[in-house]
Symmetry: C2
Subunit: 420 residues, 2 copies
């Protein structure tokens, strides 16, 4: 593999150009083999702003519209990147595939199982792939963990945890015109709204949809008091300070897998706290945890009885097991947002199209990961009843080829480990 | 309060004298106002060993038997301390109350709701109290946390976590004569076998059974592979290495409370790891976590956006909010096992009897906390279905007096905070 090696030109339409959309588009524009031929946002100012950026960087102005259907009609767009509000990702993806476009989309959760199934069926019928742009699967720490796991450092895995633990009270609590879909979702829904940042990497650790799959989940929500408290203190005179927020401050979800592992997810966005994805990986040989940056491996000498055992810093191990892709990436030079992972996930999307290979995060992964949101809502509504997680692969998960170790669908780093 | 001030003599019978029983008995013998008049264990060698210790320390040999019923008949025993196998705590406690004895017992879980109810009803009928000897409620860290919570450091609480995370593979995997009840339980049961070390302190934080109560729980168990792997490696030639262990390596339990808080418990005893009770307390003003020893409070200055926020060490805050009882205890001189907390819980039992006041951990707490074990088994058997947690107080929890801040039922440290 040679990061950034230019392939044939990939022509894109960008749909959804809020803060995140513009950032990702700029990263795409840094790739010489990518051409942005259409930009779209329901807000005209945003679409125009994006068009100006493309023109400035590439000389020619792209097609600019407030109607994504216009983007889907264009022959100079082979693939779309959807970065709209959470609840519009899947409907637009389905229309895009029906219009013959390849699809990628930013992360978020699904509103119903039905839309997940429709996305899967339309992808199967049209032969057009869908890739969820789950950047955290490409982060340095998560990829080092993947590397350690594939090399057997933790032995057989038993339990993984993660969370979207991000204090977003000020963003959710914007009192005037709030174009951000988060406010709607936190005000009206109650569930694991944003599962994929932690579940995506865990899915790569546990080979979900490739020899393993998620079977059932149970979710529980705490009371919702954090956002209201924040608004009372910081924006006491707004209508929002009197509004009801349905989303529980802490939503915990337990997931069972066919190979016997369990997964714990935490959604935590309306209480004061440091950002953390709360990563936690536990196997028969040891345990790693993100909070506290600790690792404990059985093979390390330990004496003095079980109370004397201590976590040690994970720094050395993360360096020792740095993923080969990241070694190459550091030489190439990090770019794009979020510590560099955004570039990698977008590059995996572009290169998979160029080489006509399956996406490392495909439509089955996208459907399964996003379905956690509506399933968690259902579980909470039913008093934390267990709900089934569908097998979107229709049984193929038992024999599907393992995901490539470099998450690029090419030049797999661990061919032997992945030939299960 | 004056720790260790001798009151009237309390006469005890000790039932169950394995390693833990002997240790606790020695701590009791260090109290001049306690007299051990009877010792009992089903194994004669253990009973005799205990009798020898009492004789050596106090001059006179106590009554010594292998039948606890003989202890219950004695007039020179007003209270019993039950430290037998988990599954015999409650049946013996019930018989003891019927024989007119006051009861304390070591921690463990219940095998059925029925035995919990019977314990409650017999206590109500006989007027004899039951105290669960949950030492972790008296640990320095947990009591500092309680102090912080009562003084409003975390604001309204939303979510708490804890775990019994203790690598016990060698103890469970003893291959020859194993008198320890853990092996039976791990081989045959599958549930949250040991909930009270973490749930006890959380119950004090959340005022459970005193203005708040646990409503429902859901449990999920991972596969059970850790003990088997350990035996294959360390004791490959034993029958035990071929035995089936039912207890999932990681059992997670979510509990909902009437005031909207949620609680997460983790049982983790058959994988390699450092000991941790995984404490975690989160409210509208901040969060504390045991792993990593981190605390984050909103009132601390934080700049640079939410990604810049960091946990800081909890050392300073734990010192600043050291519980008054612990300040006094350090002057008095720590004694007994487990960093000093064993002495405090036993002393609370003794002094409550002397002063004829209710136990700080009473029969309703004992029943509710221990019931988590059989309820978690039920939930797991039903595919992680939610199960109701009974209201053992029969509605009295809404108006019951708050638990004293010093957990001694006397000279409450925070009378105002507890008058809710």
């Amino acid at each position: 593999m040679k990061l950034g090696t230019a392939g044939r030109t990939v022509t894109l339409g960008i749909i959804g150009l809020g803060g995140r959309g513009v950032g990702q588009m700029k990263t795409l524009l840094s790739m010489p083999d990518v051409q942005v031929n259409a930009v779209c946002d329901v807000y005209e100012d945003r679409a125009q702003n994006a068009a100006d950026i493309v023109k400035e960087q590439r000389g020619a102005a792209p097609f600019c519209t407030t109607d994504y259907r216009e983007v889907l009609k264009r022959e100079d767009v082979e693939a779309v990147v959807i970065m709209t509000s959470w609840q519009t990702h899947i409907p637009i993806a389905i229309e895009a595939m029906r219009a013959g476009k390849i699809v990628s989309m930013e992360v978020g959760g699904a509103t119903s199982l039905d839309e997940c199934w429709e996305m899967v069926r339309v992808s199967e019928q049209t032969g057009k792939g869908v890739m969820l742009l789950e950047n955290c699967c490409y982060n340095d720490v998560e990829m080092a963990l993947l590397n350690m796991i594939k090399q057997g450092v933790f032995g057989e895995l038993v339990h993984c945890r993660g969370g979207y633990q991000h204090d977003l009270r000020d963003e959710i609590g914007l009192g005037d015109i709030n174009r951000h879909y988060r406010q709607d979702n936190f005000m009206h829904r109650n569930g694991e709204l944003y599962p994929t940042h932690e579940l995506g990497p865990i899915a790569t650790y546990l080979n979900l949809n490739r020899g393993n799959r998620m079977l059932t989940l149970v979710s529980m929500a705490s009371k919702a008091v954090g956002e209201h408290e924040w608004l009372k203190k910081n924006r006491p005179d707004t209508d929002l300070a009197k509004a009801r927020f349905n989303e529980g401050d802490i939503v915990t979800t337990m997931i069972s897998c066919s190979n016997g592992e369990t997964i714990m997810l935490t959604h935590d966005c309306t209480l004061p706290r440091p950002y953390s994805r709360g990563g936690y990986v536990q196997g028969v040989k040891g345990v790693w945890m993100e909070d506290g940056h600790g690792i404990y491996l059985e093979d390390d000498a330990h004496e003095g009885g079980t109370y004397a055992h201590k976590f040690k810093s994970d720094k050395e191990m993360l360096e020792k097991y740095e993923h080969p892709l990241w070694k190459e990436y550091r030489e190439f030079g990090l770019r794009g947002g979020h510590g560099g992972m955004d570039y990698l996930v977008l590059r995996a999307f572009v290169e998979s199209i160029q080489k006509e290979v399956a996406f490392p995060i495909d439509v089955y992964d996208t459907a399964a990961w996003m379905a956690i949101t509506c399933l968690s809502e259902e579980s909470i509504q039913k008093g934390s009843a267990p709900v089934n997680i569908p097998d979107f692969t229709s049984g193929r998960w038992m024999r599907r080829e393992a995901r490539p170790g470099d998450m690029f669908s090419l030049d797999a780093v661990y061919p032997e480990a992945f030939t299960e």
